[in-house]
Subunit: 316 residues, 2 copies
């Protein structure tokens, strides 16, 4: 989250008359983040976050907004989008698609302990279960076909050893069959900075703008790769056990999922290696993105190949 | 809120499997209140309030629950009901209709200052504006026809002077025409104990189980009679001005409303005098209600007759 499109207070005050949330008290840009413009908005009646979508196709936005509304309606701490007086979530501000969502309590924790990994595992299962009754469907924007296409684009920019790793991994991934794995709406980006802690509780799960329909196991693999790894990319066994067992307690793994798990951890590592390598080697002109080191996820991928993770819990 | 129907933890833990909010951590009865059984419920994924409806017709409940959901969806701090895995708000627990709602932050303030009255006035206008797009309709359960019927039932139990007051007031009320007043979904019971303060902000507006379709002005009159009166029933001018001006700033009064205002303050006082007099003189067998002193609202009614409130703001 950052501010790329400025919003003057007078413009916002006028725009808020489309809503029933009172008058503007404070508007403050949020400097974190990479993709959209975000602001804290305080009115006489509440506290909200305003997002202006900088380059996401407008037609894709209702999937995300209605998913957030659906999950919040099922009791999960997800920022509910606010309907305006025409009963619509999505508006237009400064020429950009724009939405107000509820501002949730809490702050992210970049060094979570096992207790917090337990809560995150249970929360991810809760998101998957609540998403089962969500009616809309949109493909995971960073799913298998995106990964193949991204690999072709970045391949020639990689050093030889990385290119060999990439080719071998794509070949391995093409042998995997995910057809039997349970699937649904997934967050797909549940990193530590997207969970807000309010004391011991999860006060918020934020940033659903990579969500889509894919296997639940892919979502778990993305989450484990971030929450349960050390700085060198190796798994922390205690946090790993805590997270996957808490997930399993809410939504038991199937035999097909246990079999697919080592490959899925690799697919999830590949997805972030590729997106970071693209941002690094092929930055798009005029785009302001926080370029993250692609080596982190290359190394996580290598480690998953060399040292397969302990099996998922459940009957063998 | 109180507990009339006990809920064992094992029964609730089982029932929660219909939801996607994790496992039961704590269950605690709430002792305040008069009408339903209420509990604080903490799960691994969040904090909720559980309500078992003791004697409200099941068919009337969706109006209240969908109204709460609608207002929350419009960004107001109203307890959103939680949908279960079948996407339904209303379930059955211990043989009673039951609902889980989000638990909101804050505590009520029985001695509010003018700043808080300003916020309550603005909030009430926000509720009315957001309610304009609510699709369901159910009559105010304590509207004009209920008041006539209640007066007939309680009349002969009143001392002579009160009976004369009641007869005169009913006669006066029958001359009023509310047909030109703007109407919509109203809370109808926005007393000080139904607003939770989270610091300077309103963290929650609760207890929508007297809501219904009626004039917005009736809702404002109910609110003013509670928030802006002294212990002797007389108006506190500073709190009165703060509340009605804040409301007017969000949703300007019409000329018809300014004309109807003195009679509406009396109608709102009559409604609570009657319900408290019924509870006092004709308690229903087996019903556990907190009997409140009916004299308070009899005196507020008398004062509105003797000392009409200052006019509402706006053009004359």
């Amino acid at each position: 989250m950052s501010v790329f499109t400025p919003v003057p207070e007078t413009v916002l005050a006028q725009w808020l008359q489309n809503y029933a949330i009172g008058r503007l008290v404070e508007l403050k840009g949020i400097s974190a983040g990479v993709q959209n413009s975000n602001f804290f908005v305080t009115t006489t009646l509440g506290r909200y976050v305003l997002t202006l979508f900088e380059d996401m196709p407008r037609a894709e936005l209702p999937y995300y907004l209605h998913l957030m509304a659906h999950l919040a309606r099922h009791g999960l701490p997800v920022p509910a989008p606010i309907a305006n007086r025409d009963n619509e979530y999505l508006g237009t501000l400064q020429g950009k698609p724009a939405v107000l969502v509820m501002r949730l309590q809490g702050a992210s924790d970049m060094t979570p302990d096992t207790d917090r990994c337990t809560r995150v595992g249970a929360m991810l299962a809760g998101l998957h279960l609540a998403g089962q009754s969500y009616g809309r469907r949109q493909a995971n924007p960073r799913g298998a076909s995106w990964r193949s296409e991204a690999a072709q684009r970045v391949r020639n920019h990689l050093p030889t050893d990385e290119r060999a790793l990439l080719d071998a991994e794509l070949c391995f991934q093409s042998t995997l069959d995910c057809g039997q794995l349970p699937a649904g709406a997934i967050h797909a980006d549940l990193f530590r900075d997207n969970v807000l802690w309010d004391g011991e509780h999860i006060g918020g799960v934020i940033d659903f703008y990579f969500a889509g329909h894919d296997t639940w196991l892919f979502d778990l693999a993305v989450t484990v790769n971030d929450w349960c790894t050390e700085a060198d990319g190796s798994l922390n066994r205690a946090r790993y056990d805590a997270l996957v067992q808490a997930y399993h307690a809410e939504r038991p793994f199937t035999a097909a999922e246990r079999a697919a798990w080592p490959g899925m951890l690799r697919a999830a590592a590949l997805r972030f290696w590729l997106s970071r390598a693209l941002d690094f080697h092929l930055p798009r002109e005029g785009e302001m993105v926080l370029v993250k080191n692609p080596h982190e996820y290359r190394d996580i991928l290598r480690l998953h190949i060399d040292v397969p993770a302990p099996p998922l819990p459940g009957q063998v």
